[in-house]
């Protein structure tokens, strides 16, 4: 099934939503072959399910279509080491205003944080963005753009165009990061935004490791449907 068809089917499950819930987006990205943390979604009002399948430590995050930044409302709890800690964190997060549920997932190892995004530019149409990510992305502004969809070669040239590129190739003794895994993510995001079905897609941060990558947060904003 091609990207457009699988995305169209996925969006069909959310006919009245433009900002898709994070757990759904991550589920879709997993199906598309991209690395996302193992975990599940607890809707508001549901009891805490059995977490024994997950490996500690866990991370818990509030989920809501009306919260733009989870960290700004204290909606992220990290380093949960046991079931008591999980229960307390989930109860706290459910108490945040507008909370629609809580995402509980295995906490990823720290890595080099990058951002991969896509938008529909009014002049150039579907465009993909790459840059150094995390919460400071809008402060440092170290990003570059290319037309979507793009090839792997294009994806590699895009990576090279940010100032922080050396963080990926092994800076000051650190091991190089897995640029092949990053290229997979860039190419897939470029194909998703090029379908025209989305208005914006934002993977931030994506943690890069010496081997592999992990998409820690993911947002999709659906285009106006015709």
């Amino acid at each position: 099934m091609d990207r457009r068809e699988s995305l169209r089917r996925f969006l069909g499950a959310y006919p009245d939503t433009r900002l898709l819930p994070e757990h759904a987006v991550k589920g879709f990205l997993r199906e598309a072959g991209l690395p996302v943390p193992v975990g599940f979604f607890i809707p508001a009002g549901d009891p805490l399910p059995d977490c024994s399948r997950l490996s500690y430590p866990l991370a818990a995050k509030v989920s809501s279509s009306r919260i733009r930044s989870k960290s700004d409302v204290g909606g992220i709890r990290l380093g949960l080491k046991d079931s008591t800690g999980v229960a307390t964190a989930v109860a706290d997060l459910m108490g945040i205003e507008n909370a629609e549920g809580v995402i509980l997932e295995e906490q990823a190892q720290p890595g080099t944080e990058v951002i991969v995004g896509g938008i529909i530019d009014p002049q150039f149409g579907p465009v993909v963005m790459f840059g150094l990510g995390g919460v400071l992305v809008e402060l440092f502004h170290d990003v570059a753009f290319a037309l979507a969809p793009m090839t792997r070669d294009d994806a590699c040239r895009l990576m090279e165009r940010v100032k922080g590129y050396r963080l990926l190739t092994g800076y000051r003794g650190a091991p190089p990061r897995d640029r092949e895994a990053l290229a997979d993510i860039l190419v897939t995001v470029s194909e998703l935004i090029a379908t025209g079905l989305l208005e914006e897609i934002d993977l931030n941060p994506v943690a890069l490791y010496p081997s592999g990558a992990m998409i820690l947060d993911a947002k999709m904003f659906v285009a106006v449907r015709h």
Binding site: P149, T195, G196, E200, I201, H226
Partner: protein, 498 residues
């Protein structure tokens, strides 16, 4: 599946197979993509050569609003236009004859279909005049202002519709139009007494703004270089930069294109045409309107970071296109590439007789990503033997205020093979710098076949030395930094041009 284009005149039909993108079809299926991207104008019947040949080399030109009064725009343009290598038809119902040329009451009365018609009437009259052009003109240049730029978007939409329905290609509105010295085509409403025209040369100017275009023409004339073709297309309702880029890419008279843009219209079409052109000859682009930030209300980080200019600038970089930062840089680069061909490589040697000017040049080289290699031992040894002990034999080579003019020649040939480009700085306030320097520069340039630019300052023989040097095909700049900018446009990725 066929879509009719929104913004090009003539028979503009695009089909899905023209979309050069493997996901093009999916774009087409979603709303606004259909009208904005990948429009292609087809050739008009009756125009056997390239379509834009009719625009730049019209066999016949009508002037609607021609008048004998030399103080009015219609009188100024007619005086500029009658030099045309072709037939000119004044159109004005008040006159049977203007400047000795038979005048026609309306375009409907013209004895033939003209390649180009120029409209110099108030905006409100333009729709009716355009209607009368149906079947009587291929290109119509609307000089008149008073359209979308002042908020009259409906009036602009109306002329787009009339042009499309009438099979007329439109240039403008709100523009000065065309200048092609080879064909003595000049539609600019500026008297020669106010704006001296540059000589014929190899620089093409593609400008959205008329005022910037005039400044460029004057600066190009002052820089001792010349013009191949000029177009100012204003509001760009039909003719836009990409179509002109594609034409100029294959225009033998044009060696370099300088372009000033405010909007890019269909961004993908723009990139494709700009890449096509810049694969063949240098294209320098200055984009105004850098302030428009990202959508502050956008929902994602990406949306907030993706301002119109940020995306434009980043895509120019990604696809290897040459964007300049300001007007001066556009001009300095254009001057250099109009004199010499770009080469690959980024190694520069600076030969100066003033230490400070050399240091300023070094700083600018660093800023532009140019490299100043150390001189090899044997070169240093040779120069040490040839020069007085107080000369600095390094890079820059400092010949000091006690320079003898032949030292420049000695230094240039010594470093000929170790660098890709050369900056010579001549401070004419000392007795040792004479007009013979121009002969040395010419000889070196001919034998080395590599880029050479010069900074000359301090009066004395400077004006004559500048003239002789530029006559030898070497551009001269009034400051060390500007000379480096010129050299930078001749080095590095410039080497991709054939």
């Amino acid at each position: 599946m066929e879509f009719e284009g929104l913004c090009r005149g003539g028979c503009v039909v695009i089909t899905t197979h023209e979309i050069d993108n493997n996901l093009g079809r999916t774009f087409m299926e979603c709303g606004f993509f259909t009208s904005v991207f990948n429009l292609q104008a087809t050739n008009l019947p009756g125009c056997s050569m390239k379509e834009l040949d009719c625009l730049f080399f019209p066999k016949s030109v009508a002037l609607v609003g021609a008048t004998p009064d030399p103080a009015k725009l219609g009188g100024i343009v007619l005086r500029n236009l009658i030099r045309l290598k072709g037939t000119v038809y004044p159109v004005n119902p008040k006159y049977g004859e203007i400047l000795g040329i038979r005048s026609f009451p309306s375009v409907a009365d013209l004895p033939e279909t003209v390649d180009l018609s120029v409209i110099l009437r108030p905006a409100a009259d333009v729709p009716a005049i355009l209607e009368a052009h149906r079947g009587k003109a291929r290109f119509v240049l609307v000089v008149s202002a008073g359209f979308a730029e002042v908020g009259a978007s409906e009036l602009q939409a109306e002329i787009i519709r009339i042009g499309r329905e009438g099979g007329l290609r439109l240039v403008g509105p709100n523009c000065l139009g065309l200048y092609n010295p080879r064909h003595r085509l000049d539609t600019m409403f500026l008297p020669h007494a106010c704006l001296k025209r540059p000589k014929r040369g190899n620089v093409a100017v593609v400008s959205q703004s008329g005022a910037v275009m005039i400044c460029l023409l004057e600066a190009i004339r002052m820089a001792n270089t010349g013009i191949s073709k000029v177009v100012n297309y204003g509001n760009a309702v039909d003719l836009d930069a990409p179509e002109v880029y594609e034409y100029l890419a294959e225009d033998d008279d044009t060696a370099v294109v300088v372009s000033y843009l405010e909007s890019v219209g269909d961004g993908r079409r723009f990139l494709k045409a700009a890449r096509f052109l810049s694969d063949r000859k240098p294209l320098l682009i200055l984009k105004a309107g850098k302030g428009a930030g990202g959508g502050a209300a956008a929902f994602s980080h990406t949306g907030r970071l993706a301002g119109n200019y940020e995306v434009f600038h980043s895509l120019m970089n990604h696809y290897g296109l040459h964007e300049v930062a300001c007007f001066d840089e556009l001009l300095d680069g254009a001057k250099a590439v109009s004199y010499q061909r770009p080469v690959p490589g980024k190694r520069v040697c600076i030969i100066t007789n003033g230490g400070g000017a050399g240091v300023l040049a070094v700083d600018e080289c660093a800023h532009r990503g140019l490299v100043l290699p150390d001189l090899p031992d044997e070169v240093r040894r040779d120069l040490r033997e040839a020069f007085p002990s107080f000369y600095t034999v390094a890079n820059p080579i400092d010949l000091t205020g006690q320079v003898r003019v032949d030292d420049y020649r000695e230094a240039l040939f010594a470093v000929r093979d170790v660098c890709d480009g050369f900056l010579v700085i001549a401070m004419t306030g000392v007795a040792g710098v004479t007009l013979r320097l121009a002969d040395h520069l010419r000889e070196f340039r001919e034998k080395a076949g590599k880029p050479v630019v010069v900074h000359i300052a301090q009066g004395g023989v400077a004006p004559r030395l500048i003239r002789l040097t530029e006559r030898a095909g070497i551009p001269v700049y009034p400051s060390p930094e500007r000379a480096v900018r010129g050299l930078a446009s001749l080095l590095g990725k410039g080497g991709s041009h054939g």
